[in-house]
């Protein structure tokens, strides 16, 4: 299940539970509260009806008592009857006053008779009236037939017999019990509730014509048999379940009841629920809307983070996390952006390092190729002739060197020899070295004079070299017929000549020499050395004399001369090798600081 769905469901459950649980609890509480309130309302209704009845009965009784007292004391029948007539007018009753001054309430039918005896005590019993009156009536039955009709019938009968009763000296009024309940309907609790009165005679008078809810008469009688002043009980009738509350009115002895169907009690509860339902739905809608917006916001944030993560995973480090930094997602995006920046920087560094490594590797490869090319330009074999021995050595200090060593066996039997040193080191010096070798070969093919060749080379190099680059060189030719090496020194180290005859080394300097490529003009002179059998000529670059040992001590010219002299007897190849070995022994494990280049021209002893 996707995280967003889980989260959404979680939030929804939280919201629903946080809303529904209080709502359900509220409804349960409200139901309990309502039931409690309903019972209180029933009690209040009964109390109000009871009070109303009590007041009316009390008023009637007082009037009757006054009338009876008036008659007994003054035998004023007329005034007594007037008083009774007032009551009759008010309550539509029919009272009589017998000759003994007893008030007789004639209730010819099911109604109560209310009266006072001579002592002024009220009485309400039917048997009493049945014995005292001679009203003939039809007893109605059953008990559940309409009492109002019965009472009307009784009143008609009583009215009809009034005269005859008066003539017998009996005055009287009849008060239907319903008179006391004329206003009872205003206390109704609900449309289907019923207020009723259970008379002492066992008759029921009620406010509603529909009697279907009234529980059994005998049951009510039995309920009140225990003489309790009030009682409440639930009943199940064919019409449904209802609750009946009873209270006894003390003056009349009537039982006043209120029956309320359970449905009516529920009506209020349902009404409350129905009134709450729109608010609950509205709350749910609002909460759902807020949840939707919230989850949508979360979803967008999560989607952006997921999409960003996916793009990062695919190598795109330019992905923007445009989430505002006002919540945790924004902070995560902010941290993501910082991490991406670091990653990007790391990637750039890595790429840079890779480029450097690649560049270094390429350069190393190029240098290796350059080394091979340069090595191809250096002689590896020297002339094998009986009249002259030539041998050289070339050890570049780096991959490529700036020294030049070259020779050419010319068609006329002469041998051209070039040794040169380009200022500087590395690739620039190597390039100049290649140029120098080529131009000397070219110019040597065009002219014979070594000085002219030098001058021409100087002119070329002056025009083509960088301002601070120059070349020192010795270029010469060995003429075998005269055994002479004729050469020109252009700012180069002086040649060392070993004379077999003198047994010593001579340094052949040229005070007027100048290097090549530094100045536009060249002034040089041709030098000539005759090489007799056993003689040898050593040409070298400063890499030989300036080779340093670990103490920074240079090999110097003196050691070079000494070594040259020591091994002069060796053939040229062995001699040059011995000098090289001696230099290498001197510097031990130190690397050459400059290119080591030497060439020996030796005339062998015959």
């Amino acid at each position: 299940m996707p995280l967003k769905l889980k989260f959404g469901l979680f939030v929804s459950f939280i919201i629903l539970f946080s809303l529904l649980i209080p709502t359900v609890l509220f409804l349960i509480q409200s139901r309990t509260l309502f039931e409690k309130t309903s019972h209180q309302r029933m009690d209040n209704v009964l109390l109000q009806v009871k009070t109303n009845v009590n007041l009316q009965v009390r008023s009637v009784l007082q009037t009757l008592k006054a009338a009876a007292t008036s008659y007994q004391q003054a035998h004023d029948m007329e005034n007594s009857l007037l008083s009774l007539q007032k009551v009759n007018a008010q309550f539509k009753t029919f009272f009589t006053l017998n000759k003994q001054g007893q008030i007789q309430l004639l209730l010819p039918y099911d109604g109560e008779m209310m009266g006072l005896n001579l002592a002024g005590e009220p009485y309400f019993t039917i048997p009493f009236f049945e014995q005292q009156t001679h009203i003939t009536y039809r007893r109605a039955s059953p008990i559940y037939s309409s009492p109002s009709i019965m009472i009307t019938t009784a009143l008609e009968m009583a009215t009809r017999e009034k005269r005859s009763l008066s003539q017998r000296g009996v005055l009287g009024v009849i008060i239907p019990v319903t008179s006391f309940f004329q206003n009872a309907t205003k206390y109704q609790m609900s449309d289907n509730s019923v207020i009723f009165v259970l008379s002492r005679a066992g008759f029921i008078y009620r406010t509603a014509s529909d009697h279907s809810l009234i529980t059994g008469h005998q049951v009510l009688v039995d309920l009140m048999a225990d003489k309790r002043s009030s009682l409440k009980k639930e009943f199940s009738t064919p019409a449904g379940k209802s609750i009946v509350s009873l209270v006894r009115e003390p003056l009349s002895g009537w039982i006043i009841g209120l029956e309320v169907p359970f449905e009516d009690l529920g009506q209020h509860y349902q009404s409350l629920y129905r009134s709450m339902l729109p608010w609950i739905l509205l709350s749910l809608f609002i909460v759902s809307g807020i949840s939707f917006i919230f989850i949508r916001h979360l979803n967008i944030s999560i989607q952006k983070l997921v999409e960003g993560g996916r793009q990062i995973n695919e190598g795109n480090l330019d992905v923007p996390f445009d989430l505002p930094v006002h919540d945790e997602f924004g902070l995560i995006a902010h941290h993501f952006t910082a991490i991406i920046k670091s990653l990007k920087k790391g990637q750039e560094n890595l790429e840079s390092a890779y480029r450097q490594v690649t560049s270094h590797q390429l350069m190393k490869r190029d240098m290796s190729v350059a080394h091979q090319i340069q090595q191809a330009m250096i002689p590896t074999q020297y002339p094998q002739r009986p009249d002259i021995e030539i041998a050289g050595v070339y050890e570049p200090a780096r991959e490529v060197g700036g020294d030049v060593l070259d020779y050419t066996e010319n068609q006329d039997g002469t041998i051209s020899i070039l040794i040169a040193d380009v200022s500087g080191k590395g690739i620039p010096a190597a390039l100049v070295m290649a140029q120098t070798k080529i131009i000397f070969r070219v110019f040597a093919s065009e002219m014979d004079s070594v000085v002219d060749i030098m001058a021409k080379a100087n002119a070329y190099l002056y025009q083509n070299l960088r301002k601070n680059t120059f070349v020192t060189a010795i270029y010469g030719k060995y003429y075998p017929d005269i055994k002479k090496f004729c050469y020109c020194n252009a700012g180069h180290n002086p040649a060392y000549f070993y004379s077999q005859q003198r047994g010593q080394i001579t340094e052949i300097s040229d005070e007027e020499s100048q290097c090549l490529g530094a100045w536009s003009t060249f002034e040089g002179q041709e030098l000539a050395v005759k090489i007799e059998p056993g003689d040898s000529l050593l040409l070298y670059t400063d890499g030989a004399t300036e080779a340093k040992n670990i103490n920074g001590e240079m090999f110097e010219e003196i050691r070079l001369k000494k070594t040259f002299k020591k091994y002069h007897h060796l053939a040229a190849p062995q001699l040059i090798e011995k000098i090289k070995e001696t230099i290498e022994l001197f510097i031990e494990n130190e690397v050459l600081y400059d290119d080591l280049t030497m060439i020996i021209i030796k005339s062998p002893l015959t």
Partner: protein, 119 residues
């Protein structure tokens, strides 16, 4: 390798540039920049005190050759003073002595410049 350090002292119309350390290819750009700034500052007579130069390789001599050309092209005069015998020999070998004057001391170089002025 010890880098080259330069010091400048200006005396009237003569600028004394003292070099310390090793004169190699690394000194090319800084030294040229320095000399050009001195020349553009109006000092056309320059004395190089080389007494504290420990080592000069071929590239270093190439720089000196180029400096001589630069100063002469700017109508200036240059004197080298107190170069060690070893390197003086090399300077002579490559022919630098034919295009620039070398003196044993700075004073001698100054005196020579003043003498040139009076001519």
């Amino acid at each position: 390798m010890e880098k080259l350090i330069t010091e400048i002292k200006n005396f009237k119309n003569i600028s004394l540039i003292t070099l310390k350390g090793n004169l190699t290819a690394e000194a090319d750009d800084p030294l040229f920049t320095l000399v050009i700034s001195v020349l553009s500052g109006g000092f056309k007579r320059i004395v190089f005190d080389l007494s504290k130069v420990q080592y000069i390789n071929s590239a270093g001599f190439g720089i000196l050759i180029a400096l001589v050309d630069e100063i002469k092209n700017s109508q200036g005069k240059v004197k080298f003073a107190a170069l060690s015998p070893h390197f003086k020999k090399t300077a002579k070998l490559i022919g630098l002595h034919r295009f620039a004057d070398f003196y044993r001391t700075v004073d001698e170089a100054f005196t020579s410049l003043k003498r040139d002025e009076s001519k």
